[in-house]
Amino acid sequence: MKDDDARKPEATSGVSRRDFMKISAVTAALPAVLGPKVVHAAGEDVPIQGPGKVTVTLNVNGKKLSPQLEPRVTLLDALRGPLDITGAKRVCDRGTCGACTVLLDGKVVYACSILAIDAQGAKITTIEALAEADKLSPVMQAFVDHDAQQCGFCTPGFVVATTAFLKQHPQPTAEDIRRGLNGNYCRCGTYNGIRAAALLEQGGKQS
């Protein structure tokens, strides 16, 4: 690794948004996982993680996992690569499409836009934990009933997003759904089924 310097907070000019995010995360690393190196930046002593691999402790679907990761690795890539939890998909890889949606302490997040090292300490829930053994969750079943999937690549993200949305809106109106499930893209065009699944799964009425 030759670009140690580029990862210091003071060297942010000319970097992309993603690079900046990766740099920011270094400054925000938790004291609990203090690295060997500390620099003084922005008036504070800041521990430096990496650039090589460090142990990152993640609570995924109720299991404590401790992969060795470079600090620049996103939560999505940590899940899909070393942890082999592949339900969340990489599509846009920059926080637009929602295919990588997971829950962080119950909140919907795009796993491509959070670093694994920053997800330490949070309860991470992926699509894999929403079904109990072989039984589909009610939202998954609604997706099947209303044929809310075609190629299926966006489907896990949509199911996670819909699950979280329905927790917040147990009796959603069509307008709630229109606004609440607009953060995920589908290319095959399954929105009609998703709309119906979100509305009818909770015993709502189709407008």
């Binding site: 599509v91 998954m140 299926g152 607009n182």
Partner: protein, 789 residues
Amino acid sequence: MTQYSWPDPALRPLLGKKIDRVDGPSKSSGRAKYTYDYNPQGLLAGKILRCPYAHAKITSIDTGAAEKMPGVKAVEVIQGPGTEIFWAGDEIVGVSAVDEGTCEDAMRAIKVEYEILPHFVSDAEPPKNIATDTGPVSKDDFEDMLDNQVPDEQVISAIEKRGISFKPTEKDYASYKGMGADPSIITALEKAKYVEAENKPKSPYKKTATQTTGTPDKAFTSAAAVSEGLYGASCIVHSCLETHGSAIEWPGEKEMIVHISTQNVSGIAAQMAEPLSVPASNINVLQQNVGGGFGSKFSVDRWDVTTAKLSKKASGKPVKNMLDRKAEFEVAGMRPSAFARVKIAADKDGKITAWESRSWGTGGVGGGGTPPLPYIFEIPNQRKQNTAISTNQGSARAWRAPNHPQAAVITMGAIEDLAAKLKMDPYDLMLANMDIAGPRAQTYKEEFAIADQLMGWKKNWHQRGDTAPGDIKRGMGLSMHTWGGRGHNSNCDFTIHPDGSVEIKMGTQDLGTGARTIITIVAADALGIPMENVTLLYGNNKYPPSGGSGGSTTSGGVTASTRRGAVNARDRLFAKAAPSLKAQPEELEAHAGRVQVKGDPSRSLSWKEACAKIGAVPLTVRGQNPNKDEPPDLTNSGVGGVQMADVSVDTETGIVRVNKMVAVQDCGLVVDVKTAESQVYGALIMGISYALYEEKILDPVTGRVLNPNLEFYRLAGLSDIGDLKVHMMTGKGYDERGVIGLAEPPVVSPGAAISNAVANAIGVRVPFLPLTPDRVLEALEPGGANASV
């Protein structure tokens, strides 16, 4: 005589019902595995360093530093010094390393120097003074025509009139046949006269000779109404959510396992064999699920060959190399643009009498597609001419119904404008021209009536220009479309096991269309057993080959081969079971989980009991489509569809919203109404997306794609789609035609219907898709409808 024909409606326990997608649970639970998810122990990452310039020559490449970096396993130069590069994003060097981050570090360490050359990326209207291309057809010209699916008669006419400047080899002929060239084209090539290539100045424009039918000038002069306008659709990108790519390993020196995101499981090995010098028989191609294809995933791409080479260099370890989103936008295919100036005429009753079009568009360096103009309507007097523009961008690939959506936008737009000129309802004008609407005219007529009911067209339609007060204007538009959709070549091995379980092996794929579901339905329906008893093994080139999933050919192909396999297996089973029922095999039927004497349930065996008569070894037969020895033909060609759109346009902001869309669609015998409807809903949504939002924008200064990502290349979201109604034509007149594909046709009309609805709402035509706010506001300016491109 074996009864292969589709059963009578009364004898279809499963066919034509609404049945859940069999892969629904695996997809909704996230368990479905895609190529992108392939993640074995020891997997290496692969990435491609791409050219940042739209036109350049490579002068030097230095990979030394990259090769020495820790974690880097292989480096492969794809295009070396001296190579001319014709689009930004083209492949230069492949890298494999322990992880993606290390690949990226290595790519930064590779030094490539270029001589930058001038580029051309504009698909604006060509200058008027371009000479018609009269010189001989070069090898590039010819292959571009094939790539762009130029109509056969145009290709043949060009070859006959202009001669050819190349001498095709046997290998060329084989490759052209592989590219789908009609035998008549091959004959024309063989007979063509050789003409030495002209040394003409390079021009991006390839202008075809004007084609004239009838007497257009006379027809325009004597017409009751003549309308002139500008129409078209911009370049768009397939945007498969799973990007292109593969994961490849070498278990032996001459042996490969290829996981690839493809529409063409059975066709991949043959394409890989030659560049990698491996017998196709030693290549195992695997794919369970594919995250979208839409016409862009038929081939082995250069990056896949590179992935294989990287793996070989890395001792055969698996290397996974999926394109990143930017590359997907730059190099993995797009739909060509098409624009046209059109003049169209009718008599006072709305009978269309004459058509004149000057069209142009681009599909990358190879020029552009030629939209079939005028679309559907066989207008008696025509004059038309097309100019293909060669631009420095990644080449076009088949995009769902190649050339048809563009042809519909241009033709249906012109017809709607003509109706407005006559103050006629376009619904009436189109129906007044059914005598020139081709073989599907009766279908359109029936569909128009149903669409009217679902949309309330006759009740709510108003003359052009919403006169209600306020800035928000509302309007309705319609369009119609056609497609072939005959089933492709398909084979399956159909096995009944002695325990009663049923297994089908077929080298096909399911793009999310419901292929798995309809194969399972057809098998279970023929055997009178539950779908759960049927296991479908697919997505492996070691199974009997089935065609690529393109051109809406899969449904007809896979259902026909499955039906024939099932009937063959059933008849063999009847022969085994008949003695114990003291009956002749032809007296038996398979019904509701039993094998019984027709109409006599008292003389029956349970399915399991009957299968136990097979003996110790399973019964396996072949099902094949087409098969002239097993009549009748179970598939067919030619469908029709009608769509209507209801939109609101904010004339202050230029924002268009779709309130409602109606699609009425025929596809012969519908196997599963549920997945068929889903496909039409999906087409409407994809149509709304390309009608209002999607456009691949190239920077004239740098020649690069300006929006190679999903935030600036906008897709329709769940909030953009309005109320959607789909009606599938079924029953008499449709069912008996057999199974016909459905993927392409419903995506043809949405752009045209929405464009027409906007014109009806605001009173002027917004010439080009997507109907973005800036284009809407420009059209509302005085003279806007004829604005420059």
